[in-house]
Amino acid sequence: MASLDDLKKRIASVKSTQKITKAMKMVAAAKLRRAQESAERGRPYSEKMNNVILNLSNGISDIENAPRLLSGTGNDKIHLCVVMTSDRGLCGGFNSNIIKKAKSYFSKILNEGKELKIITVGSKGNDQLKRSYGEKIIGNISFKESKNANYFDADKVGKMVIKKFEAGEFDVCMIFYNQFKNVITQIPQAQQIIPLNNEKYENNSEESYEFEPDEDEILSNLLPKNISTQIFKAMLENSASEQGSRMSAMDNATRNAGEMVDKLTIEYNRSRQAAITKELIEIISGAESL
């Protein structure tokens, strides 16, 4: 059994850990509100963008000559996966969930005999993936310097992806991120951005548009922007998810630390009592023997 002194030290150390997790929870809660707001403010843009592209691609005159970003290269051999994770740890299952989702996709791709290339955004994803998929990772981007997700960072990633696509380095591009549902639920998502997959949307607008210049030219101008927009949306969702996940993880940690302190305190009190009783017995039996 641990001595009284050891117990005292352990209680003190658990208490100070609890203080840290509590502070982290507070910080995450404050950041979460901001991240959530900007995720919600960002939604109209990407929705509008999607709408416009939908209208355009329905109006396009000949599918054969559609821009390759929309129709694909015609092949399905090389898959590029952009795995978006956080730069910091201590956020519960946030990163592992994305990685798990991504890994199951990776093994599916590899089983089908296709080639896989990976770009990681955020250092945590890179750390987890480089052990098993190290030779597949062709790039790692991290935005440790920028405090909030901003469009220019997303644009940087988007331009890089497009450049690689135009150089013929891959046929299909997927992005992996966590969609923010609420503080306790974040859903890992796999979204295909090249070629644009919009079969699931029904065209319900009978409205016909005038295009200036023609559809093809607008589309080829718009599609690269859409890539950046989708990546930006993923970044916003991700940062809200990260904070939410961290908040609930730290909340749990604080609660667990509290339970541990209670348990240790009981143990401390009991062993203190046991020591007192032992001393009393010794004194009494000593007196009796006289």
Binding site: R41, G42, Y45, K48, A154, Y209, F211, I218, L236
Partner: protein
């Protein structure tokens, strides 16, 4: 009959401006300036660097944009853009910075024709503001 329609300017990270008492908007569309009045036909177009002028009850507002997409439908004008500045509170030094970076870009040797054209437009507009 009122001759007003609604305009909405959206940034990637926020809604930049919403107004519903707009009578006329002039946008720098890719193939030249385009004026939009109420009951314009539905149109999608994209923007080159230039000035957006918005006439509304409260007077005229001017914005400098570098790129964007416009969609007009059912008397709703949406402008999606990632770089827009209100000319009323655009500082001189910010303007200078934009100009300098645009000029730097136009001097790059590997620039293609279309982006060269866009950058030249940008420089011209920025100079006209000054």
């Amino acid at each position: 009959m009122s001759e007003e329609f609604k305009i909405e300017i959206i940034n990637p990270d926020k809604s930049f401006l919403v107004k519903d008492d707009v009578s006329e908007v002039v946008v720098p569309a890719f193939e030249g300036e385009m004026g939009i009045l109420k009951n314009h036909i539905s149109i999608i177009s994209f923007l080159k660097p230039g000035i957006i002028r918005i006439q509304s009850k409260s007077g005229e507002d001017k914005f400098y944009v570098e790129d964007g997409i416009i969609e007009f439908k059912n008397n709703n004008l949406s402008i999606l853009t990632s770089s827009i500045f209100n000319l009323n509170n655009l500082q001189k030094d910010k303007l200078q910075n934009l100009l300098i970076s645009a000029e730097k870009e136009s001097q790059r040797s590997d620039i293609d024709d279309q982006s060269k054209y866009l950058v030249d437009q940008k420089i011209e507009t920025l100079k006209s503001i000054n």
